[in-house]
């Protein structure tokens, strides 16, 4: 009995009753700083693939060649809304919440570079990696089929029956090669460091 009285007193305080009958829940609106799936701004994508490089979720973002140039596409089922692509894009093509404003204000950035490794025991010299690499494609549009190339400027090519990496520094870390390798022989290592711009320049 005592306990019933206790809870009646607890729950029938005038404030509570008033709230129960008259309180209106504010309509649910996402605040402006909510990090939604990245959306496109009007800026032009240069196809540098930085967004694909930094994305931690497999298959969440792809930069596709559309009629009028490159355009990143987000796959919401895969995207975890971390907003890293927004932060990493040097052109500000993507936008989500207030990330763009905040990174500008904080002067934060990512510096990154990549390493390519081919495991010769796994590689079967199919050339898929050389063909699929978007950077290779740009440099040598003729590169196809076997992955051989006449150009010395490509990132990697099949040379003498094995993958030779010529210009690691041109790699954008998009991992397309890795995804297209049937044997997981080629591995891209993405080295990303979060930095403060003033410090990086100093």
């Amino acid at each position: 009995m005592r306990s019933i009285v206790y809870y009646l007193r607890e729950f029938f305080r005038p404030e509570w009753v008033r709230k129960f009958f008259f309180a209106k829940t504010a309509p649910l609106v996402a605040p402006s700083y909510f990090k939604d799936y990245p959306s496109l701004t009007e800026k032009e994508c240069t196809g540098c693939l930085t967004c694909m490089m930094i994305c931690p979720a497999p298959g969440a973002i792809a930069v596709l060649h559309k009629k009028d140039g490159w355009e990143p596409e987000i796959y919401p089922g895969h995207c975890i809304r971390c907003g890293l692509c927004v932060e990493a894009c040097p052109e500000g093509v993507l936008s989500s919440g207030r990330i763009l404003d905040v990174t500008r204000r904080d002067k934060t950035a990512f510096s990154s570079w990549y390493r390519l490794q081919v495991d010769d025991t796994l590689c079967m010299r199919c050339g898929n990696c050389c063909v699929s690499c978007p950077v290779n494609r740009e440099i040598d549009p003729q590169l196809a089929g076997t992955g051989t190339s006449a150009s010395d400027e490509v990132i990697m090519r099949i040379e003498g029956g094995r993958v030779t990496i010529l210009h690691e520094e041109k790699c954008t870390g998009c991992k397309t090669c890795e995804n297209n390798c049937p044997n997981r022989a080629i591995r891209v290592a993405r080295m990303v460091e979060g930095v403060h711009l003033e410090e990086a320049e100093a």
Partner: protein, 234 residues
């Protein structure tokens, strides 16, 4: 159900700082993603007052409400020896008087003057109350942190290289350990995660539930060990 309302306020604050409520993706090696603005810090402090007030009321209801005390005091008792033997961690162990909070060894928490919340009853009531007390403790810690937040860069850089490490930190449910092995470029080669619920559910099944006499109490005893099923089903 009431507490969910308070939780909303907490999540709103997380969102204000990081942009997301749960998966905040806020920390990066060597720093964090965004800086805390003075106006956001002020709003956060204001919300903390609100959260604290609401929590005081809820705690009062739990602590002094006769129905709850009747249902939870002396039920699901696990003494200190049993808690140690079962390797319990987190609030479940602390409610049985085990000194196990890893934050006691963490340099940042030490600087903040962290002390562990301990109760000795080891019953359902103690386990709930430890968690309530820890909420207040955390509120104080957040206040201290905001007060003593130094200016300066929020990112110091830093790269992951080859290595192998096993590190345990104090998660809300207790000790959470990650063992990670990486290669020369910081790619994860091997990873093992030990979540706190693994031990706590075991302890619940073998120690706490033993003397429970009614089905209704089984449920509440199980819940009082704060089991996370997703943590175990991996």
């Amino acid at each position: 159900m009431y507490l969910l309302n308070t939780r909303e306020t907490v999540l709103d604050n997380l969102e204000r700082l990081t942009g997301s409520r749960i998966n905040t993706a806020y920390m990066i090696p060597g720093g964090v993603r965004f800086d805390l603005l003075p106006e956001d810090a002020a709003a956060m402090l204001a919300d903390l007052v609100k959260v604290e007030g609401e929590m005081r009321r809820h705690t009062g209801m739990f602590e002094t409400g006769p129905l709850i005390a009747l249902r939870s005091k002396g039920i699901g008792v696990m003494d200190r020896e049993e808690a140690i033997r079962a390797h319990t961690v987190g609030p479940t162990a602390r409610a049985s008087g085990v000194v196990c909070d890893l934050r006691l060894r963490h340099p940042t928490y030490r600087e903040l003057g962290f002390t562990q919340v301990t109760r000795t009853e080891g019953d359902n009531f103690a386990r709930i109350m430890v968690r309530f007390q820890e909420v207040f403790q955390s509120i104080d810690l957040i206040r201290k942190c905001i007060d003593s937040l130094p200016d300066g860069p929020i990112r110091g850089g830093g790269l992951c290289k080859a290595g192998e490490v096993s590190y345990g930190g104090e998660a809300p449910r207790g000790e959470l350990t990650y063992s990670i092995k990486t290669d020369e470029y910081g790619r994860v080669v091997d990873i093992a995660i030990r979540t706190p619920s693994i031990m706590n559910i075991e302890a619940c099944a073998h120690s706490m539930i033993r003397d429970v006499t009614s089905i209704a109490d089984v449920t509440s005893t199980f819940i009082s060990s704060d089991p996370c099923i997703a943590c175990n089903e991996r």
